[in-house]
Symmetry: D2
Subunit: 370 residues, 4 copies
């Protein structure tokens, strides 16, 4: 049967402009640059409005890939889905996870393996961010990405990453100058709205909630959420990129993906459940061999909006020195790194409508054999 082979590479970075690991993979013949479909990175910025490490890293990778692909850097950015999530607080370690795929024969065993699909939304106008228009357009792109991944059943979708735009003072002024109003006047605040609308788009596409979602439910009605959505807002683009991860019988990769939902920021039981869902076991994690089967863990973290974690007050939302997303990434990153055995994991901040309030989805990609 014709299908696709999917490869995954986890590459440490020594700075947001460090592309040496990627170059070595290509020069060493281990990676055909034409097969690359997506790059999910953690870069060492503040993860906020003025985090330029995301666009710097994206442009560095585009520039280094351009000659290999015979494209301009801008064309590389249009060909490959780059999702850079800023913020490596605490023990988190800057790195990228690179996904490649190519056509290949797939055995008829019927066993499902890691598959990946991509789609993009149209560019958004500043006044659309955080509103129903963003939800609907995102849902459309998610459905398109599921098809691209050759995933047949919605329950085989385990992680949907959306990279979405944010507002800046300049973009807000642009909307105002055209007589439009934006959902908020705060650049930092807009990141929450945009992530929230993106996650609701995933939830609608997967039938987790019924659409359409009204404007005033976004970043407000926390009972609406997706169990597999992960959204990151970035200053460097005005459209969204959607990447769907799941298991498909049409893929021949040696990896599987599983997931669970953390109910709050300290939900160790759900970290363990996500491992189990992927075929791993927390107890096994003490052995190095088993630990190495983990390719990466993808999780969303947020400060619980009611100011409490299991009945105890947290101070993340009232801290004027450090943004709540940085606090949350550091704490959840510490917990998951403790389980994974290292900090090169993808913990992304701001989990609005991504899992229940204060919690978030957690997905694990693991090799089937040690």
């Amino acid at each position: 049967m014709r299908g696709r082979e999917v490869s995954v590479f986890c590459i440490p970075m020594r700075g947001p402009g460090d592309t040496q690991g990627l170059t070595r993979l290509i020069e060493g013949g281990r990676l055909n640059p034409f097969d690359i479909v997506a790059v999910l990175g953690k870069t060492e910025g503040n993860g906020g409005v003025n985090d330029f490490t995301r666009e710097y890293a994206t442009w560095s990778f585009c520039a280094v890939l351009a000659p290999y692909l015979g494209l301009s850097p801008k064309e590389v950015d249009e060909r490959i889905a780059f999702v850079m999530s800023g913020g490596t607080e605490g023990v988190l370690s800057p790195h990228i996870t690179l996904f490649a795929r190519k056509d290949a024969a797939v055995s008829h065993g019927g066993r499902k393996h890691l598959s990946i699909g991509i789609a993009m939304t149209r560019p958004f106008r500043p006044e659309e961010l955080g509103r129903a228009a963003q939800v609907e357009e995102t849902a459309r792109a998610v459905r398109s990405a599921i098809e691209d991944a050759a995933i047949a059943a919605e329950e085989d979708v385990h992680f949907v990453q959306v990279k979405c735009p944010l507002l800046t003072a300049e973009r807000i002024e642009d909307a105002l100058s055209r007589g439009e109003s934006t959902v908020t006047k705060s650049g930092y605040g807009s990141m929450a709205y945009s992530r929230g609308a993106s996650a609701l788009g995933v939830a609608v596409a997967l039938g987790e909630i019924a659409g359409p979602v009204p404007d005033d439910a976004i970043a407000k009605d926390w009972s609406l959420y997706s169990s597999v959505a992960s959204a990151s807002a970035g200053i460097e683009l005005m459209r969204s990129v959607v990447i769907v991860f799941g298991n498909s019988p049409a893929t021949s990769s040696p990896y599987r993906i599983g997931h669970a939902v953390m109910k709050d920021a300290i939900d160790l039981a759900s970290v363990s459940a996500a491992l189990l869902n992927t075929g791993l076991d927390l107890q096994m994690m003490s052995g190095e061999a088993d630990r190495r089967r983990i390719v990466n863990i993808f999780a969303k973290a947020e400060a619980s909006p009611d100011g409490m974690v299991r009945g105890f007050r947290h101070t993340m939302l009232d801290d004027t020195d450090i943004s709540a997303t940085r606090h949350a990434r550091a704490a959840v990153g510490g917990l998951i790194a403790g389980v994974a055995g290292h900090g090169a994991i993808y913990v992304s901040g701001g989990a609005e409508h991504q899992g229940p309030p204060g919690g978030g989805p957690i997905a694990v990609i693991a090799a089937e054999e040690p």
Copy 2:
């Protein structure tokens, strides 16, 4: 046999000036204010040089206790050992752990229970901080506190908390004006020196290392460390307060203390070992009843000085926006809170000579019965 009864209360705080929980305990007849010997708190400041939440909380408790004890607030501060550690990053929750003791008959069973002892150093001059003079005077105070706790064997000492001074621009100028030089001209940097010298004082007192320790080993030779020392630097005092925790046959409390040493910031296995050492079990932690046996967990966190955690680069030491101690507390706090089931735990930053580089001691106080 005559001995002492030790009580422990863990009280959430709604702000650094919130003393209502303490007042309720006293007014409800559950705590005799004359029995209070020590208060270890986590306050919601930055934990750095200009963290005034520590002195604000101390003064608030002194002021509220003063009329009960018939003392001035300043006299209360001299009677009770207050150790406020600033920084409740991530899921950490502001709270105090209050220790009380009184004379009581102790059964002849010989079983050891939680005991506590206190001592103070003489006031230090700015130029003594981070140098041999601080190590030696701290060691003297530790020995005095062990005696006060009626702990016979050094292996029964499980946690030694030292609250030590730091340098400010003003104190550095004071030394310079007298023709003396301080160990550093950075206020923030002085906190590391002072914590380091304090921890080495504990190590010397317990025979973990051989003294005397030369000036140039402090905050430099990381092979020297204590497995039970925890030091916090604060702007509000120029002498150190030492509190020794251990198990003693001369105590009748229903609590026991145990400890382990985290080898690095993600050492989940040692968190588990500390629970075991106290008679608990990580697996049991999934049950609420067993979790409630934990009274508190005390741990030190620091950014690994070589810039790596298990072979992966961390960015804590190169971050000019957030101090490394804040990063480390957030990450280690997230890990331990995941095990403890809540964030009202005592995770303190800056573990110089407290455990191996990048790691730190972790102690658990637990009730013997659920």
Copy 3:
């Protein structure tokens, strides 16, 4: 003629709990504690939601004044108007300006001198902050304070300081639990709403704008503003304190007050105009004697909401590491300190509806003789 004598003292602070300067004034017989009516302070916190230096300083002054006045600290807080503005960024220096007044004979010269009046609002509910209810109740208190100051004409009012509440995660939850909604869910964001509503209350009371002000103009319609209002939000109270400063023929103080309005954050010409309005001259400022006539300068600073200062982009609003109010205080503080010759000036952040967008009122209190 019967009138009042007003005294002003500017006292440096070595920390938010430092009350020694005040004690010395009282013990030295230079200040009768019963005459104190208001204290405006700059404390060295972040000026944001979790700036506890404001309440710590207030608490410290109340505690030290309590025995002198034969009151409890809480009663002192109700008797004297304490306004602590957090944030001494850049060259700003922590200090308080203390105002005292007592009955005295006033000569019939008719010349006007510095006068001061105080009033308080009723406590606000969380859901009232940033809305019309806050505007109206503040306006009522301003009129009452003008009367208290014995100022006859509105043009003799030169500075109106309002200390107003802010929202915290807890207060927002409180409103939600009663079925009410707050104007924002962001604690930091609520400070802008509360300051804005307070300033509009001043504008309404002085007839600078016509009332009533609708909810949706607050923190939105920047064409509405007061030229003399200064509002600071603080976590420590739920009612507002209003202090009116102006010149009155019924006062015998050796001081005068004048003001101007800075059009933007770099409006040196208006700093100069404020000096002129008070009887001083920028050119004279080079002489030490003339400089010493300045008792204090009171100014509001804010990041221009359109992201520009005189056609050049600023980055204050897009900075996730440092809040915009801290940026603005540092910059405006640098400019005014350059003119005043020192940094012990009162520059307070967040000038919503206080002067035009990006600008703010500036008032100068000066001695009539060098």
Copy 4:
């Protein structure tokens, strides 16, 4: 007479990767890219160790110039002296000042005009930073740059910009692994040492102080300083770039440069003196036409190391939330922008040995005609 024509362009940036202003100049025929010799920029990072906006901006300009110059981006970086100073706190506005020069006939009038010269040091090893080796090699490069600028007399040198390296955790480890020790183990702290050594190199080259400078005077003996040195540390290079600005009879530009030394961070009189030295007048600054003669102002800012500004305590050095360099840039930027009339000025933090303690050099480039 043969000489050189010097041009200067001040170009706003909308982000650290924004090169559109430069492209427009070239495409519009106003700038020949082969004439560009130096670019001094202010980028919107934190100006600290992990400020990647500096290298991102440099990289972006190199990439856009590469095809024009027929070079690789790396070769562009070697051809043109890029000095990016991070940190646009307060009203400071991101921009670059671009200097171009070409051979041209110069009239025999003998009047001196703005001239510029460039030189580079050899690459430094981590252990050389902040020590005598860096001072000496920098002095050598300064003398070479003066010659390149065709400046005959040392008093015609008005500003010497040095871009120097800093230490990172990785570089410190590198030195340690070779058995060498670095001057400090703090990345942020190393910036002060490297800037200090660079400034002393300028002072030695210009005869402002006598060499050789011993290791232990660097960042310690503040009586040694240069009145025209400006040093910025950046993570992106391990050698230093030196740019000398002065007036030369061999130049035909329509600009002149002058300077003064700010004695402290609020020294308005010296800002005025720098204008005068360049042929401008503070009083004239109120007129727009005169203001437009200012091309740019270059100044160094730092927190006074004794913790005081004119007898009043500042809090910059004890702030664990915001680094002292950010505080100082914001304050001094506010003062100078108030005089210049806009924030697109070059205020750079960390003035160790650049002017007296707490002060710094200030240079003005102005057009001779309005």
